[in-house]
Amino acid sequence: MREITLSQAVNEAIAEEMRRDPTIVLLGEDVAEAGTPFKILSGLVDEFGPERVVDTPISEPGFTGIAVGAAMTGLRPIVDIMFGDFLFLIMDQLCNQAAKTHYMSGGKLKVPMVVRTNMGATRRSAAQHSQSLHALVAHIPGLKVAMPATAFEAKGLLKTAIRDENPVVIFEDKLSYQEKAPVPEEEYLIALGEACIRREGSDVTLVGTSSMVQVALDAADLLAGEGISAEVIDPRTIAPLDEDTILASARKTSRAIVIDEGHRSYGASAEIAARIAEKAFYWLDAPVQRFAAMDVPIPFSPELEDLTVPTPAAVAEGARRAMRGELFHAP
C-alpha cells in the first residue's frame, strides 16, 4: 500500500469531501495561499477557490461563531484553529453555542461542523503553543473528539467527522504531520467511537491516544524483549469512547496502563482509567496506572520540557511493576 504523511492524509480527506459536498467550506488563518504554517492545506484554494477556502482575520471567536451559524443554516464548515492552545479563545462558541444547540432546540437545530486543531509538546514552543487540550472539550456533552494517531486515522476520522451531524473537534499531533503511514487509495471511513487494537498481547493493556500510541508501541517492543506481552489499544476518539474494546482487553490481560499527553489531573487518562477501574475491577491484578503530561505549564527549556511527557521507558517500567505485582503509587 502507498504511504503518505499525516499532513497529506488531512489534505486528501478535505479535498475528497469538498469535491463530494459543495456545502463544505474551510475557514481559518492563512489556510488559502499559505496552506497553514504547517503547509497542510496547500493546493486546496487552487482547486476550490477562495470562496470555499477562506482566509480569515486573526479572530478565532469570530470565525468559529460564524461557522456555528453557518452550520445551523446549511453549510458544513471546517474551522482551522492553528494551535490547540487557541481553543481557549473559542471556548464560548464551541462549548456554549455549538455543543448545546441541538439539545437546547429539542433536536430541531443542528451544528454539523468540524474544528481541526493540534496538540503535543516537545516542539520547543513553550507554554502557549504546546498544550494538549482534548480533555477540556471532551468534557462537554455535545462535542465529539477525535485524536488520530497516524495518517490512516487522520484521513478516515476526518472524513467521518465532516459527514457527522454534530460538532467534532479533531486534534492532530504537531510532530506527526510528516510521519508516513500506509493509506489506501480507495475511499474509507473510520467510525467515531471505534477503537483499534494496534498490537495484540496477553499480559498488560496499554491504552494510548494520539502520539502516545507510538509511545505505547515502543514500550511494548521493550517489554517483548523481556517476555512481557503488551496489548496496545488506540481509542481513536475519546468522545465517544469505545469502552467495550478497552474493557475487553483489560479483562483479558488483567493489567492496564493509560497513556495520554494531556495534563494528568482531570485529564483523558483519568477518565479512561476510571472506567477501567469501575468496570473491570474484579479482573485486575494491579492498579490501573496513568502516564500523562505533568501538571505544569509546558516549559520552554528542552531539558525541562522533555521531563513533562510520557516516555516508552517510563511506561515499560510501569508495566514491569504491574507484572511483579508490587504495591506502588503510580507516578
Binding site: 482566509d55 482575520p57 492552545d85 487557541f86 527549556s301 521531563l307
Partner: protein, 328 residues
C-alpha cells in the same frame, strides 16, 4: 529626517545605540537558530527597531509595557541586558524566565516589561490592567501595549479600549503596522480605517512613521506625558516593516510579499542606517564615534552569546517549581 535640534546628543546616541543593540541582538539570535543552537523558532524584530526604541525611550523604568511574539526588540528597548536575554532564548537557568519562557515569553520584571505573549492580542488586557493599577495605586505610571496589525482582529482589544476610555486609564495602544500578519496583508484582515477603531471609543490617535525614531519618540513623549497627567488612553499607529520572514523558518516569501517591496524597505527605509546617516549629517556624531558604538555593541552581543552557550540548563527540580506562587 526632522529632529528636534535642542535635544541633546546624548539622547540621540542613546537611542541609536539601543536600535543597534536590537539589530545586533537579532542578528545573533538568527545565527543561533541557523546553527541549530537555539531550540524552537523565533520572530525577528529587525526593521522595526525605531518603534520599540522611540517609545521606550519616552518611558521611565517603572512604566510598564506588554510585548508580543516578536518581542526581543521591546525587551531590549525597555532596558534588558543581553546575557539574560540570550540565556532565555537558549533555555538556560540564568535567563529572565529561568529558561521556562523562551523567546515568545521573555519578560523583564525589573524594567517593567510584563512579557512577550504567544497569543496574538493576548496582552491587551494585561497592559490595560497595568494602567488600572497605576491609576488606583497612584503610581503615576503609564502602560504601553505593543501589538501588531494582526491583533486588530482580536475582539479583546476592543473590549479593553472601550473600558480604558471609560475609565480614563493611562495606557497607550501602540499598533505596529508592519503590513502583514503571518502570510496575509493587513488589507485582507482589517476593514475600514485602522484609526477609526480607536476613535469610535473616543480615544485620541496619531499615525507616525515607524522607521523614524525621532518622530516616534516625539509622538510617544507627548502621549506619555499626557497619559501621566490623566488624559489617556491614546492610540499610536506606527507604519513599519519586518525585514525578515514571519519567523526564522519563513524563507520563501514571494507568494505573499514581493522581493522588490522588501528590497525597497531595506534600502530606503532602514531605521538604523537612516538614523546613522542623520546623526552624521547633523554632526551629532562622527563616523568614528558611530563605528565605536557599533563595535561595542557587537562585542557585548558576542560576549553574551558565548556566556549563554556555556551557561547551565535548569536542573530537573525546576520543572514543577513556580506553578504556584508562595505565600508572602
Amino acid at each position: 529626517m526632522e529632529g528636534n535640534r535642542e535635544r541633546n546628543a546624548d539622547a540621540y546616541l542613546r537611542m541609536y545605540r539601543q536600535m543597534l543593540r536590537i539589530r545586533v541582538f537579532e542578528e545573533n539570535a538568527h545565527q543561533l537558530y541557523l546553527s541549530a543552537k537555539m531550540p524552537g523558532l523565533t520572530h525577528l524584530y529587525i526593521g522595526q527597531e525605531a518603534v520599540a526604541v522611540g517609545i521606550c525611550d519616552a518611558l521611565e523604568p517603572t512604566d510598564r509595557i506588554t510585548s508580543t511574539h516578536r518581542g526581543h526588540g521591546h525587551c531590549v528597548a525597555k532596558g534588558a541586558g543581553f546575557r539574560q536575554m540570550f540565556c532565555e532564548l537558549l533555555g538556560k537557568s540564568e535567563g529572565f524566565c529561568r529558561g521556562k519562557g523562551g523567546s515568545m515569553h521573555i519578560a523583564d520584571q525589573e524594567n517593567g516589561n510584563l512579557g512577550a505573549n504567544a497569543i496574538v492580542g493576548g496582552s491587551a488586557g494585561i497592559a490595560t490592567g497595568a494602567a488600572l493599577s497605576a491609576k488606583r495605586l497612584g503610581s503615576g505610571g503609564v502602560a504601553v501595549c505593543f501589538f501588531g496589525d494582526g491583533a486588530l482582529g482580536q475582539g479583546l482589544l476592543y473590549e479593553c479600549m472601550n473600558i480604558a476610555s471609560l475609565w480614563k486609564l493611562p495606557v497607550i495602544y501602540a499598533c505596529e503596522n508592519n503590513h502583514y500578519g503571518e502570510y496575509t496583508h493587513v488589507s485582507e484582515m482589517a476593514s475600514g480605517d485602522l484609526l477609526d477603531r480607536a476613535r469610535a471609543f473616543g480615544i485620541e490617535t496619531a499615525t507616525v512613521d515607524g522607521q523614524n525614531v525621532l518622530e516616534v519618540n516625539e509622538a510617544a513623549e507627548g502621549f506619555v506625558s499626557r497619559a501621566r497627567a490623566g488624559q489617556g488612553p491614546f492610540f499610536l499607529l506606527l507604519d513599519t516593516y519586518r525585514f525578515h520572514g514571519h519567523h526564522v523558518g519563513d524563507i520563501s516569501r514571494e507568494y505573499y510579499r514581493a522581493k522588490e517591496e522588501e528590497e525597497l524597505w531595506k534600502s530606503e527605509r532602514d531605521p538604523v542606517s537612516n538614523f546613522a546617516k542623520w546623526l552624521r549629517g547633523e554632526s551629532v556624531a562622527s563616523d568614528d564615534e558611530l563605528n565605536r558604538i557599533e563595535s561595542e555593541v557587537r562585542r557585548e552581543a558576542e560576549d553574551a552569546v558565548e556566556y549563554a552557550l556555556a551557561a547551565p540548563y535548569p536542573g530537573s527540580e525546576e520543572v514543577d517549581m513556580h506553578v504556584f506562587a508562595e505565600a508572602g
